[in-house]
């Protein structure tokens, strides 16, 4: 289903779009990854991923395997718990960039119109360890192979984590260990039709939520005259009852990757190098 739900700024009545009855509900045969907090004796064997923490004398030994990709760490802790949360997809194979770029099929937004799209975004799974009330990241793993891109040009652009998404008018069914659902609200403040096929979101505004079936994130894009857009990640779950993920955000120190194409105002990224 590739229909945008569109409404004008003056008339807030949503345009009727066909939405399947089971929209947003997971398929019965779809396996789901369990996010949440677990005791150390909880072992995970999911698809090709296995995670375990075993006690060896006074030390715990963390072991993770995903195919040939392994990680082993010794953890010195008396008691604590392990948290598995979906995190911003910007840490593998290395923390190269702060920006996530989502490419999607081109959508035409009417003048002074607002559209809400549901897109997908890649997921990385953060393994956190918590003891004495202090939480620290232990490992990050992902079923998705990362891909990077350049928004803008080499001289004045930003490296982005690239993801290709379909366009949906309702939350699509996705495997919660591979992809999450991004609710993107696009507001066209111009008097022209605007074509949009990408959104660049800065990590600072990304707030990931999860429940037993979905991982979600939300962002708002305000298109302004001159073909630019301000994109801001917003803290808003897909629906009530979702848990807010732990964040891994730390501003990158590498200046080489921060000469933004537009400019970053707090968590809002100004896309001035094209919307398509």
């Amino acid at each position: 289903m590739r229909i945008t739900r569109s409404r004008t700024a003056r008339d807030k009545i949503p345009v009727s779009v066909p939405v399947p009855e089971n929209a947003g509900e997971p398929a019965e045969d779809m396996p789901f990854f369990n996010y949440g907090a677990f005791s150390f004796d909880y072992a995970i064997n999911f698809s090709r991923l296995s995670i375990s923490i075993e006690q060896k004398l006074d030390m715990y030994h963390y072991h993770r395997e995903l195919g040939k990709w392994k990680r082993d760490t010794n953890v010195s802790v008396k008691e604590g718990r392990m948290l598995l949360h979906p995190v911003e997809p910007l840490y593998l194979p290395e923390a190269v960039t702060d920006y996530l770029e989502i490419r999607f099929d081109e959508v035409m937004i009417e003048p002074r119109g607002t559209s809400i799209l549901f897109l997908t975004f890649p997921i990385e799974i953060g393994v956190f360890i918590q003891a004495s009330g202090v939480t620290s990241i232990l490992d990050v793993v992902s079923f998705k192979t990362p891909k990077y891109s350049l928004y803008g040009n080499a001289n004045r652009g930003v490296i982005t984590r690239w993801h290709k998404s379909g366009v949906f008018s309702y939350p699509p069914r996705v495997r919660n260990y591979l992809e999450g659902v991004l609710r993107l609200q696009i507001e066209n403040t111009t008097d022209d039709w605007i074509n949009v096929s990408r959104a660049v979101i800065h990590e600072k505004g990304m707030q990931v939520y999860f429940d037993e079936h979905f991982v979600s994130m939300a962002a708002e894009m305000v298109i302004t005259p001159g073909g630019t857009a301000a994109v801001t990640g917003v803290a808003r779950p897909l629906h009530e009852g979702m848990t807010r993920s732990l964040r891994m955000y730390e501003p990158r120190r590498s200046a080489s990757f921060s000469n933004a194409a537009g400019s970053l105002i707090d968590s809002t990224f100004i896309m001035d190098a094209g919307l398509t």
Binding site: P93, E94, V96, T97, T145, P146, K147, Y148, S149, L150, Y151, A154, N155, G157, V158, I159, W162, S254, A255, S256, F257, N259
Partner: protein, 325 residues
């Protein structure tokens, strides 16, 4: 005259405290030591406090001005420099109250200043170049640069010199004057850069298939950027094979990782697709032992009669023929 004017100024400011000229008899006029009165001490103290406050204020201004523009260590250095200059000025202002006479030092100081000026010409030029580099910022710490044939990572940018660590781990100090006047190649100033391979395949291989295979390998690599998209094309029909050029954009900080990783993966993928790298071949024709009917055909080589066989041999066949010969 100058002394007179200075004393007039001081009298106007601190007259109430010292009152030395009008022969006051208050507490502040009481001489403590060597003609220095309590008033002079208090005046000197006020100047001292004022100097410290001014130095602190200017130090903060310098910090705000340069934060984010130059390295932290250099900001601290400039702050210290500004502070000491203000201290020195404060001391000069304070000196008449403490009855310190610098007139004897003027001539000697002038001579010393000239001598020091000549001696420190290069030093000063390095210092000025250092300040200019801080504003222009052609390089930053940890940048991968090349200057005067030296390649390496910038370790530190000082006011007098810039230090590099070469790829071999060697320490190289470059005076800032050299930094400022030389061509600098900064490999990571831009966020992305392009690198390329030259991949040869045999004439018997399908170049279109080879391009598809290479693109497939590149698409799977994280550091081969999606945009600008990689470019793979037949560049040359070489002496020994078909030369393909593979151009890939990568994040500047990761291009070397991608370059190291991709070439072998491309080779393995090509091998898996039964596309191989050609060996260098040299075909030698000796006497009449030539290909076949080509030399018996009509003179017009572009119009072979239907009965004649055009020379279709490829280089592999020709090489075999030479071996048999």
């Amino acid at each position: 005259m100058a002394d007179l004017n200075l004393s007039v100024i001081y009298d106007s400011i601190f007259g109430g405290l010292s009152g030395s000229d009008d022969g006051g008899t208050g507490f502040f006029d009481t001489i403590l030591i060597n003609g220095i009165t309590y008033g002079d001490i208090v005046g000197a103290g006020i100047i001292l406090i004022g100097t410290l406050i001014v130095a602190k204020v200017f130090s903060g201004i310098v910090n705000r001005m340069f934060t984010g523009k130059i390295e932290k260590n250099n900001i601290i250095f400039v702050q210290k420099l500004v502070r000491w200059v203000i201290y020195f000025i404060g001391f000069l202002v304070m000196s008449p109250l403490l009855h310190i006479d610098f007139s004897g030092l003027m001539v000697a100081g002038g001579i010393v200043a000239v001598a020091v000026g000549f001696a420190s010409q290069n030093t000063l030029s390095n210092f000025v170049a250092g300040l200019l580099i801080m504003f222009e910022r052609p390089v930053s710490i940890s940048d991968n640069i090349k200057i005067n044939g030296t390649q390496g990572y910038v370790e530190d940018i000082g006011l007098m010199s810039t230090t590099l660590r070469t790829y071999e781990g060697i320490y190289v100090r470059v005076p800032n004057e050299t930094m400022f006047t030389s061509d600098i190649t900064n490999y990571v100033a831009h966020v992305a850069r392009r690198f390329q391979y030259l991949v040869s395949i045999r004439y018997s291989d399908d170049a279109a298939k080879a391009i598809e295979v290479i693109r497939g390998v590149i698409d799977k690599h994280p550091y081969a950027l999606k945009s600008p998209s990689p470019d793979v094309y037949v560049d040359e029909l070489g002496a020994h094979g078909v030369n393909l050029v593979v151009r890939i954009w990568s994040p500047s900080g990761y291009w070397w990782d991608a370059r190291k990783d991709l070439l072998w993966k491309i080779f393995k993928a090509l091998r898996a697709a039964d596309i191989d790298i050609p060996f260098e071949q040299l075909v030698i024709w000796e006497g009449k032992d030539t290909i076949n009917a080509a030399d018996q055909g009509p003179e017009d080589e572009f119009a072979y009669p239907e009965t004649a066989t055009p020379p279709k041999m490829n280089r592999d066949d020709a090489a075999k023929q030479v071996d048999r010969g």
